[in-house]
């Protein structure tokens, strides 16, 4: 028995900010104090508050230390772990009120969250199967194999209202039903897991895989039993080395415990799971492309029908679900369809995990019931936009989604509402933008991404996105006309209607949604040749306020283009003559502005 457990986050965010060194320091300090048998150091998955990493929590008290540095450790060990005195100066300041330390669950960030898919992340050691079993792990698989028929399993998933968390929101139970019923020839079927989280700025799936890998394995086995498959594949990004390693460990442990392999729970049901590493192609998030890639080919999508439920991987019936979808399954089996359907809105049940990023105070991972408003997520949980800047838009759905303006902040988030306001749920990336972000530039950024990632198989996507990108580029350079805006919109609708797969069909969304809500910004670029946010370099001009300039010459020495020269003008009260920028020579790098100590240089 340990009297205290110290949980150190080992997710990618905290590992990047040095949580491994924290663990090492803790272990050596604890050994020095002779407390190895009293205090356990546990490496967990992601706690969600990545902006405050590395994170360390001391139980049973639940004290939340944030932004921990190795040099804090000796003090924390000698004061807190030896003498029982919390070292307040290193504790997350929001949990400190006067002399009291609040539990982490009562902070703004965690208060409104409800964790289903993330329930074990940051709680258990993901590299130890016994910790998963201790939190009801594999109980759902046991129940399914010993008490339920495959049809009953599918009925429960259907009744729960669970929809695919990868983006499109197709009912999971219906997918399973089709794969079970449409082909019944006794041949092999496959269960696949899409862990190729390619949406830039989204990291929900990675956190589940890093923090609770067994939840995915268990759900895949349940799915296998339901549709009659004995083989599963997890297609995971090679860029997620920690997730890959933890999955490998989890699969090995599940084998050792007889929870994967032959004759699971003595039921006669066999199931095995293989890992396949993706190689960095966004289109492989599309289901048919993912299967083509597992087969060892260029990951190009194929036309549907035939749907994967009839002809998928190796031409056999296959289901593909996203990591987060699987992470809900075991809970649904154990707690019942009604429990799950009791959360959320009419057509979107349960919870959704969002990766909150961009211009927001509490960057990190949040899980909220469907129907929570964007305002609650951004302002309450996320802590709002930092540095006193104004909120401009929230981007959801990544390169397939759109930008949501402030007037729609109170819309309850679910699949259908987001579609109605021109965005989409997507996998759950939620990027906040402030007044310093140019919406035309953001649309261009996403189009650059899709041009790069288009597989090239169909013309509307391969050529259409390229032309769209060129039009946006023209706008940001101040060379477009109003007629170009109409042409661009027309092209958007053409691509949406004609592209082969989801990537192309949704690629114009970032353009359409910004045109819809931020048309004035486009007009400013086209008509006034100005970028209101001051981002598009070609439209900027830098000027020196001659009365504020002290003539120190710092800017002129910084200027690589020799565009800054001294004038004859001496401002009142100054000894030296002021400088001026020759706009013909200026390359708009902004170096002068950041060196000026007197804030005499401005950009417009």
């Amino acid at each position: 028995m340990y009297r205290s457990h110290v949980l150190v986050c080992g997710g990618t965010g905290c590992t990047s900010s040095g949580s491994q060194q924290i663990q090492d320091a803790l272990k050596s300090e604890i050994a020095k104090a002779g407390l190895e048998n009293e205090i356990a150091v546990v490496q967990t998955g992601c706690h969600g508050l990545c902006a405050l990493g590395p994170i360390m929590i001391v139980y049973p008290e639940g004290t939340f230390y944030s932004m921990v540095k190795p040099e804090y450790i000796p003090e924390i060990v000698s004061e807190h772990l030896v003498k029982g005195r919390v070292v307040k100066k290193y504790v997350y300041d929001e949990t400190v009120s006067g002399d009291e330390i609040k539990p982490i669950t009562e902070t703004d960030f965690y208060k409104k969250q409800y964790r289903v898919a993330l329930r074990n992340c940051g709680v258990i050691n993901p590299e130890n199967i016994e910790e998963y079993i201790a939190t009801d792990g594999y109980a759902a698989l046991g129940k399914v194999l010993t008490e339920m028929t495959p049809e009953q399993v599918i009925d429960v998933v259907l009744a729960s209202g669970l929809r695919g968390r990868g983006g499109a929101g197709f009912p999971t139970g219906r997918k399973w039903q089709m794969a079970r019923n449409l082909v019944q020839d006794g041949g092999p079927k496959y269960v696949c897991c899409n862990a190729d989280e390619g949406d830039p700025g989204a990291f929900m799936d990675r956190s589940v895989l890093e923090g609770d890998p067994h939840a995915v394995l268990e759900a895949m086995a349940i799915a296998g039993y339901a549709i009659g498959a004995n083989q599963g594949f997890i297609y995971v990004r090679a860029e997620y080395p920690i997730a890959v390693e933890r999955l490998q460990i989890a699969i090995k442990q599940a084998h050792e415990y007889g929870l994967l392999g032959k004759n699971i729970f003595g039921s006669g049901f066999d199931f095995d799971i293989d890992l396949r590493l993706g190689a960095g192609a966004f289109v492989c998030g599309e289901e048919t492309a993912l299967m083509t890639s597992i087969e060892g080919n260029r990951g190009e999508p194929r036309p549907r029908p035939p749907f994967p439920a009839v002809k998928g991987l190796f031409d056999r019936p296959t289901i593909l679900n996203n990591v987060e979808t699987y992470a809900n399954v075991a809970q649904i089996i154990l707690k019942g369809a009604d429990w799950f359907a009791g959360m959320g809105t009419e057509k979107s049940k349960g919870t959704k995990v969002f990766a909150l990023g961009g211009k927001i105070k509490n960057t990190g991972l949040v899980e909220v019931p469907m129907g929570t408003t964007l305002r609650e997520i951004v302002e309450e949980i996320g802590g709002g936009v930092p540095n006193g800047k104004k909120f401009k838009a929230a981007q959801t759905g990544g390169p397939s989604g759109g930008c949501i303006p402030p007037e729609h902040l109170d819309v309850p988030i679910d699949y259908d509402n987001l579609l109605a306001i021109g965005s989409m749920m997507g996998s759950g990336g939620l990027i906040v933008m402030d007044e310093d972000n140019c919406m035309v530039d953001i649309a261009k950024f996403f189009l650059e991404f899709t041009v790069d990632e288009s597989c090239g198989k169909c013309t509307p996507c391969r050529i259409g996105t390229k032309r769209l990108y060129e039009m946006l580029d023209k706008i940001t350079k101040g060379k477009a006309t109003l007629a170009d805006l109409d042409k661009m919109e027309e092209l958007c609708y053409y691509i949406k209607a004609n592209a082969l797969c989801g990537l192309g069909q949704t690629a114009p969304n970032p353009v359409l949604s910004t045109l819809r809500y931020f048309r004035d910004e486009y007009i400013a670029h086209v008509v006034d040749k100005k970028c209101p946010a001051g981002v598009c370099k070609s439209l900027l001009s830098f000027t020196i306020d001659q009365d504020k300039c002290k003539g120190c010459s710092m800017c002129a020495r910084q200027c690589a283009a020799n565009a800054i020269e001294r004038t004859d003008y001496i401002a009142p009260g100054n000894k030296l003559a002021s400088f001026a920028i020759d706009s013909a020579k200026c390359v708009k790098c902004g170096a002068c502005m950041s060196t000026c100590k007197f804030k005499a240089i401005s950009k417009q």
């Binding site: 990545c50 830039p200 860029e239 192609a281 990190g364």
Partner: protein, 164 residues
């Protein structure tokens, strides 16, 4: 991907070839084995020069076009050698809205190479990547296994100096 022709001569050893052969033999019966083999081959050689692609194609008895097609489709596979220090700047959305685009441009200027290229002395190569998942630290770049977060253009000189 850079369009420059690779001028670095292939320097594969017999040991590397034997290692690759063993991997191919252990995987060849598995359906869809081509990508796992290529991933391991890149792990051995650091990149996938045409000599290695030819070897894989011959061993698996499939056309070289197929191997080349897969190698050029996925951004993880590189036909060119990488630098001793691989710099990767995250251009995911969260990093981009916080200014990683400026960081990437500044690095090109400082190193005198375009994205996807390697400096003449073989020391640094520069690539853009899509989200390494450390969005809480945006903007982020990695140099080999070291992660640098909350970057600004001003911090670059100090960081690069560590590797010079």
């Amino acid at each position: 991907m850079s369009s420059k022709i690779c001028s670095v001569p292939f320097k594969g050893t017999k040991e590397q070839e034997a290692q690759l052969k063993a991997i191919i033999d252990s995987l060849r019966d598995q359906r869809g084995c081509l990508m796992p083999i290529m991933q391991k081959a890149q792990g051995i050689y650091g990149y996938l020069p045409i000599e290695v692609q030819t070897f894989i194609a011959d061993e698996l008895n499939i056309p070289l076009e197929k191997v080349y097609g897969v190698a050029t489709f996925y951004s993880q596979f590189s036909l060119y050698p990488k630098g001793e220090y691989k710099i990767s700047v995250c251009l995911g959305t969260a990093c981009y809205v916080k200014g990683s685009g400026d960081v990437y441009e500044k690095l090109m200027e400082k190193l005198g190479i375009a994205g996807g290229e390697c400096t003449a002395d073989g020391k640094f190569s520069l690539d853009a990547c899509r989200c390494i998942g450390a969005c809480g630290l945006a903007p982020v770049m990695t140099i080999n296994d070291d992660v640098y977060g909350k970057l600004t253009v001003d911090k670059l000189d100090e960081i690069l100096a560590k590797y010079n």
